[in-house]
């Protein structure tokens, strides 16, 4: 999966990597939300000195080749100075199902937290809910966190672990439910817990989807009546309505946030915003239609791209 650069070798300098996971923040802190900050704070409280700085650099230059998250466990490959990437694992102690039940009970009492949770965000006060349930959301002590790395560094956490840790922090911005995953419960399972009496959320959702897909996939046969077969060329009312060209661009991708574990050299959102702006103009030209007789038609411009 990774891509290696077989350039000249120099010890203590990590091998340059193309296509690694790159932090989207060029400087400053990783992740913008408080929970991401809380996560990073935990790491930085370990007091491992310059390894933090190097870990940050690794995270920004894309040394981390892969991250995989399953319940309670993160596994990662980090390219260091050796040929073979190092293997990093981070384990968080998962909550028991009884603990989760306590949490959900506390949560249900305050439904508006749900609104935010259901959309992949975590309300600021969620920690209060954890507290009510007598739980700690973030690894508070060394005991909660188990980290390993295959590098020769005696320190734990080492810079490789730190790099992965930072990237996870950034990822929490996009998907805060990772914290839940790390604590041993998937988002869907959590939500299905909320619907205590209902069957597991996952099942209902899938069932619903199937039904929906079925109802939408009605296959239409051809009508035998020539009148309806060929279509009607009568003019129809303008169904497009008013067309407001947006002033800010790429609102939809902005709403969805950064792409998970983006590895590109280009900044995802910025690149898209420029594309959206140009596309918006081209779309508008098509709707506005041509202008009088033989004048330059808007489509002609598009046509030339390919031919010219």
């Amino acid at each position: 999966m990774g891509y290696y650069d077989f350039g000249y070798f120099r010890p203590s300098v990590p091998r340059r990597v193309k296509g690694g996971i790159k932090a989207q923040s060029k400087n400053g802190s990783f992740g913008e939300n408080w929970w991401a900050k809380r996560w990073i704070d935990t790491l930085e409280s370990f007091n491992i000195g310059a390894r933090l700085v190097r870990g940050r650099r690794y995270a920004r230059s894309g040394q981390v080749l892969s991250i995989e998250i399953v319940k309670g466990c993160v596994t990662s490959e980090v390219q260091g100075s050796r040929m073979t990437p190092y293997h990093v694992e981070i384990h968080l102690r998962p909550f028991t199902s009884g603990a989760w039940k306590r949490f959900v009970d506390a949560l249900i009492a305050q439904p508006y937290y749900m609104a935010i949770l259901m959309n992949g965000r975590i309300p600021d006060e969620i920690e209060e809910v954890f507290k009510i349930a007598k739980l700690s959301m973030f690894p508070a002590k060394m005991n909660d966190l188990k980290t390993t790395c295959s590098c020769p560094d005696w320190s734990n956490p080492c810079k490789h672990i730190a790099a992965v840790y930072y990237l996870l922090g950034e990822e929490f911005d996009r998907n805060p439910f990772l914290i839940f995953t790390l604590r041993g419960i998937e988002q869907k399972a959590l939500l299905s817990l909320v619907h205590k009496n209902a069957p597991a959320r996952q099942d209902t959702e899938n069932a619903g989807r199937k039904v929906k897909r079925k109802s939408h996939s009605v296959r239409t046969a051809l009508p035998t009546d020539p009148d309806s077969f060929w279509g009607k060329s009568d003019a129809r009312h303008d169904f497009l309505g008013e067309i407001a060209v947006p002033e800010t661009h790429a609102a939809l991708p902005k709403r969805l946030g950064n792409f998970p574990f983006w590895r590109g050299e280009k900044i995802f959102i910025d690149t898209l915003a420029a594309m959206y702006e140009e596309a918006s103009e081209a779309g508008f030209d098509i709707v506005a239609g041509d202008f009088g007789g033989n004048e330059e038609k808007p489509d002609a411009r598009i046509y030339q791209h390919k031919t010219g």
Partner: protein, 1085 residues
Amino acid sequence: MILEAFRDHRSRLQKGEFNSQEKKSQSSMILFHISNYENRPVLWAERSADEQVKKTTSGKQTRRSNKSKIFPYDAGEDGLQLLHQRWSDAIPPIGCTSKVVAWLPSLAGRRGGKNNGSLASSALIQPQPVSVLKTHIMPWQVTVSELSWNDLVHLLCFCEDKSTPVPGILIGPDIVFWKDAMRFAGSLCAREQFLPGIRAENKSFQAQWQPVFLGEDKERYAFLMNVIPPVVHALTGLDQESPPKTVRKDLLTQIVTGFMDYLIRSSISADRSMSRQNFTERAADHDILHDQWLNALRTSDGELHGKAKVLAKLVQQVEEYRQPLDRLSASPYRLCFRLHEPPDLQSAGNDALPVQQAGRKADDEAWRVEYLLQQHDDKSLLLPVSQLWNTKNVLPSKSADSGAREFLLSSLGQAAGLSPDVEESLKHSSPSGYVLDIVRAHEFLTQTSLIFDQAGFGVFLPAWWTRKGTKLRPAVHANVKSPSMQASGSLSLDTIVNFNWNIALGDEVLTREELDYLARLKAPLVKLRGQWVELNAEEIRAAIEFWKKQPTESVSVREIIRMKLGSGAPVHGLQFSGVTASGWIGELMQKLEGGAAYEEISPPSKFSGELRPYQVRGYSWMTYLKSWGLGACLADDMGLGKTVQTLALILRDWNSENRRPVLLVCPASVVNNWRKEASRFTPDLPVMVHHGADRKKGKAFNDEVSKHAIVVSTYALLHRDQKHLQEVDWGGIVLDESQNIKNSETKQSRSARALKAGYRLALTGTPVENHVGDLWSLMEFLNPGFLGTHAEFKRKFFVPIHAGTDPNAAVRLRSMTGPFILRRLKTDKSIISDLPEKMEMKTYCTLTKEQASLYASVLKDIEDRIGSSDGIERKGLILATLSKLKQVCNHPAHFLGDNSSVPGRSGKVTRLSEMVEEIIDAGEKALVFTQFAEMGGILKKHLQETFGREIFFLHGAVPIKQRSQMVDRFQNERNASPVFILSLKAGGTGLNLTQGNHVFHFDRWWNPAVENQATDRAFRIGQTKNVHVYKFICAGTLEDKIDEMIERKKGIADKIVGAGEGWLTELSNKELKELFMLRKDMVGE
């Protein structure tokens, strides 16, 4: 001997001496479709019966596992090539074609017949069988050509509302759907409702732009899905056994995605940016998967390279990424926000300064945003969110509402990401909305609501709010004072006048104190006299600055009129609300805007004829505008007499001291009509025709022009003789059929604008105001500069009107152009009462050069022979010659009988086509009578090819059953056959055709009784409209002279002519020669 003459004619024809482009017959019609085949659009076509049969049989029957036969109407590869040749602007070159199966409605149980029960889509391809029996779907082989999205978009942009873009081509009825789908895709692009994605198919992966359907787009989607013509999904491969069944939803998604992916890709094409940026990287450089993906979104094929497993994982990532949006868009609900203004506290004391009174309160009133759930399938069902929280248990899982509640929570959470207010509201129990102060209410109106809207939420705003702000806003008002009409001396639009600016709210002028007060308020919204007004701090400051300067400006009256009519353009940063004027300027403006009546003036002396009351009004209106040097466009319906009104105007000028020639430009086909009409209504006006090869030039031209009142010329010469025409100081220029300059870029439009003239007048029978794109060119000719530059016009009017972005643009444009366009319809109440129920008029047509040459050869032949013949032989010769000359007048192809091409070779046919076009535009119907069945056939074919509509032709050989079917359909189906062609013999009596209210006598029988009887097919009980009767006469030919003869001896005409044409044989050789002779000056080019 006569044959020799034709041989001569033919050789001249071949040498290209006559200006008709294509002599080869192109009789077959081609009707094209676009269908979906294997997830891509393909082009295929039907071709009318006469020619295609031999062609298609040459195609080999390939595999036939579904027993499909070759579709008899398939255009085949040749037909597709011909389609490209005929319309190469729009149809791309035909590359690779292939045979597929089209599953089409066919006649059951007619397998033995010639066409095996196949049915074409249009009667123009295959005359409909008398009765369509039960139909069922059968497979037919057709030839398709691949169409790239690029080609498709290009083609669709050329497909306008007409069904025949060029003669001989018909646009299939399915194209409307494709255009709508394209425009839908365009609107989604414009509003940025799309996301980057990946298309995975057969282990190949392409980056692809994909639409997102939120809010109202879901309804548009559903609407389009229901109107997909089945023919779009009727194609399959040759080996499919049964008719296809299609998931229309998927089909539409695929089509919209195809359009969008193409539109976006081409607008951000990597090839294009390469030159201006350092995009030196190639696809191979993008070995980072994510970069490769981003880059592939702008390459032409979008291909992604790499291991399938890796790519499949990326596909999954992309799906997860967009899942929150997909979930929202799949829901049956929609979250809506409604802004409530503070409850209206009864404000006492209307006497107080309204500004102060309202301003004090506005701050502390509470505005409120309410959350509502709306159901997609019943939009009237709006459920206040507060009702959903009522139950004790907050999330009861078994309640019927649980779906709604879950959706509500989820959407509120998403909205919280867009608005901190929503987020804040969620921290309280049972959130059903939030309260906001006036500043944030204003922010909600101007910003948040737009963001919500774009994100697919519903937004309800108070009625006083428009996209551009409150309806009422402070605006600048110009105040012009001028003396009354009598007091001032010589007035013109170039007079310079002073005016003051005022600042007003609605009708009320604001004082300095009030303005100062408003500036201090710093509230974005204030309530004045019960109405909310948006105040922009900068605007108010600008207003005060303005006040300080107390600007008095001086401009020409012309400028004032522009300001008045074109109100809306901001002045010094402030909205401009209009002009108030007193005195003569006020009077002038009132008249222009239609608020005051024009003084009606009586027709000029020496005008021989009567003007009907509405014609007097039209003539007075033109005279009034002319007196101010303003250009006018008379756009009366055909048949209301634009010609007489114009002649009256010209005569009035000629009667005055200042005699200057008027240039009258018209299509060649009506040159003689003008000459004839002028000699009838204004015999005193010397008319000169500047037309034909031997027209005068240079000094001779100038000398000649100075002796005439009217110089009739044609559009073609406008440019060719521009040099000569420009040297004359014209009294006026009249453009007849002014749609000829609708395109401002053509040479003739530029030449028309370049001429110097005292006044400008345009005549047209088409509804000018409906063709927004054409208005600029017309107005630029009439009143240069009034609508701004072409680019400004495009930005301010054309694009907003077409794209629907500014509902007021059309209103503004109308108010700006209205004063200069007078259009009256025959159906207007005030007109109908002025019109007789039946109006007969002679329509003079001009022979083409080719017709004239044929005419001369026929004459030469009879001259040689008549001297040596007598008795029966002489009679026969005369009648035969008469018939031949009439054929020549009708059309060369009629006379030659050689099935040669029709367009551009006959003055009559050209004129008829022009008039029929106007009739079709007006939604009316016409009858055309001819005494020659051959000519009827030629006309039928020609009109069908020109207008793409089926045209009925009733003649002796049509079986009775079919005749009554034609009559029934003509009478009862609005869209059936806008023109009914009838042979005088078969259709001149008995039928009831009252749906037609235009009657053409294409050639003449010289027997009023017969003609009247034919006219009475339309003019009879049951006719609800006024009937117009046009008698076609070729000027300068025997038709013209016989008509004159009859007119001269009107009283005895019936007696002489009553029996038909036999009386002609009694004339002496000399008289005959006189009668048949062609007046050369009446011949066209």
